[in-house]
Subunit: 351 residues, 2 copies
């Protein structure tokens, strides 16, 4: 994104997104939850998961694919786990409930694993992994992606998604350390963003059915996303799919509904969130000091020629967050136009 891209303040984006969700029937609280989390994604620099997704979310709601008034509930539970049924609500609403459930259970059980089914796309993984942080807990999040863009290693059938993992760990003066990564070299959101901006993809993001590099994002439907580490990334995507999908009776493999192309079918999206109460393992302050020590050691490492700085997971998102909170979120012209069109369709005030 070049520096001449116009920006808008986060509060304005949040209001616009909330208005859009209200206009299609979400309760006020849920509309606010979705707007807040989507714009947080934008602030963190996860452009492929922010307000960029609004027209698609609204299209799917209007198509009947998403339930605007879900009864999100705990379907099964034991001391250290729960299975949340999202009743096909917006993923942001369902996952907020699931994260709260994991935190609440971890307060007594020390650790809690919460599986989720009948949910929808919920934006960047880090949003949910980070929710336990303010309770002095570690968060871990897994999800089944909402479109298959990867094949099993050596194959060409699109049977796997970019199934991401996020892990968030609090520090004292450093951190929090927040890893958020797809199991592919590039997340599909990045491919979509590149296509919208008319940019070329680097070699290594995608290959075609003969295994040749594919760099035109407009031809992405003819190719496969490459897993990280070859067969290792394939293995991670598969196992995360089993944990976040199969274990919860959510969709995986050929059951996955492509939410980019389909506006009417529920996705039965699966997630998993784990909360670990640090105080059950030892003293919280000592843990945070150890995290700080490790963070400083890594940052202080001698560097390869040409490397200016060593980053810790989440550091760049946090810098982006601070910058965009001050200067606003860049909204390219094409995105602005699609949001203006949406405002017209919904009869809400334009951005």
């Amino acid at each position: 994104m070049n520096s001449s891209t116009p920006t808008l303040p986060a509060a304005r984006l949040r209001r616009f997104a909330a208005d859009a969700f209200l206009a299609v029937g979400l309760p006020k609280k849920d509309a606010a939850t979705c707007a807040e989390l989507m714009v947080r994604a934008d602030l963190q620099g996860a452009d492929g998961h922010g307000i960029f997704r609004l027209p698609q979310y609204i299209r799917r709601i209007r198509g009947g694919a998403v339930n605007v008034k879900p009864r999100v509930r705990i379907a099964r539970e034991a001391a250290g786990m729960a299975l949340v049924d999202g009743d096909n609500g917006m993923g942001h609403v369902v996952m907020s409930f699931a994260a709260k459930t994991a935190i609440r259970k971890a307060k007594t059980a020390g650790a809690a694993w919460v599986g989720v089914r009948n949910s929808n796309h919920a934006g960047p993984a880090s949003l949910y992994a980070a929710m336990p942080l303010e309770h002095d807990m570690v968060g871990l999040y897994l999800a089944v992606g909402n479109a298959n863009h990867m094949a099993p290693w050596g194959g060409i059938d699109l049977l796997l998604s970019t199934n991401p993992i996020a892990i968030a760990v609090p520090g004292q003066n450093e951190g929090p350390l927040v890893l958020d990564m797809a199991t592919t070299v590039a997340a599909y959101g990045k491919v979509k963003t590149a296509a919208q901006r008319g940019e070329t993809m680097p070699e290594g993001w995608m290959i075609d059915h003969q295994g040749r590099p594919l760099t035109d994002p407009k031809r992405s439907s003819e190719g496969l996303l490459m897993p990280i580490g070859g067969y290792k990334g394939y293995g991670l995507a598969l196992m995360f799919g089993l944990l976040a999908g199969t274990l919860n009776d959510a969709a995986v493999g050929s059951e996955t509904v492509d939410f980019n192309a389909d506006d009417t079918t529920p996705t039965n999206t699966g997630h998993a969130i784990v909360a670990l109460a640090i105080s059950r393992f030892g003293k919280v302050a000592e843990f945070k000091r150890r995290v700080d020590k490790l963070a400083r050691e890594l940052r202080g490492s001698r560097r390869m020629p040409g490397v200016e700085r060593i980053f810790l997971p989440g550091e760049q998102s946090r810098a982006k967050f601070a910058e965009r909170k001050k200067l606003g979120v860049p909204i390219p012209e094409a995105l602005r136009a699609s949001l203006a069109k949406l405002a017209g369709e919904l009869g809400i005030a334009a951005l």
Copy 2:
């Protein structure tokens, strides 16, 4: 390994390893546990983690670095978690205790996260992730490696290990699916094996301090292992280190003791094992049918030109296990000689 390498039956290797551990003071039960798990690693084809490690383990025990009569105990616990203190016992003994603890707790809590500190190198990750399988549970295992061979992304100081992850999921007629991977392109055990066999490493396994490929395994001390997916693998290694190490007050970063070079210092190795009771999430038989369905879909995918077969995680190890159970475990001459030398030193019957 070429096909003319002489083989030995697993039972003989087990007896030899158990004799060696007995000779240096392990109780009979613990000697049998270590021997059983080490030879299981050999049977599965994890040559860098099997009997190959015996001389090193014995050297460290004789050097006083490992406690042969540990009081392995639960130091802290709540309904969904436990922290196991290994009292510096052999990793195989400590981790067997930790896996049993996770399984026992998951029976009532539905899910249990067990952290481990004051342990030692425990062999391949899959051994422990697979332990919950026979209880119709999913297993997940993380560990801090016992030597730093990786730098933070862009750095050259060896501050991170190959911190592995293993995940095991049972199927009905397919599977189990068992992923076991280091967060580096190659595990360091593979580098050691290549050095012992006089083989060259492929480009991509290691780089030197200028970022150039390093392919001579005898020069491995001058280089860094490459993480999978560049900064992503660095992020995974770091976060797994925080979960398996820092959370349990086990060693990470500069605290890591290189167990290849040091025969006297306890390593304070950290691990984490998670058990998930499938029956708490839904019907076990239905879960296994869904796993089978996904496994068959993936295996049945159309293939890239030149690809003969699509594999599922754990499939090749299982085939190797069956083959070696029948034909024996290949023991190259150099390894045979080092084991004969060990037998002489300990005054036990040679292999």
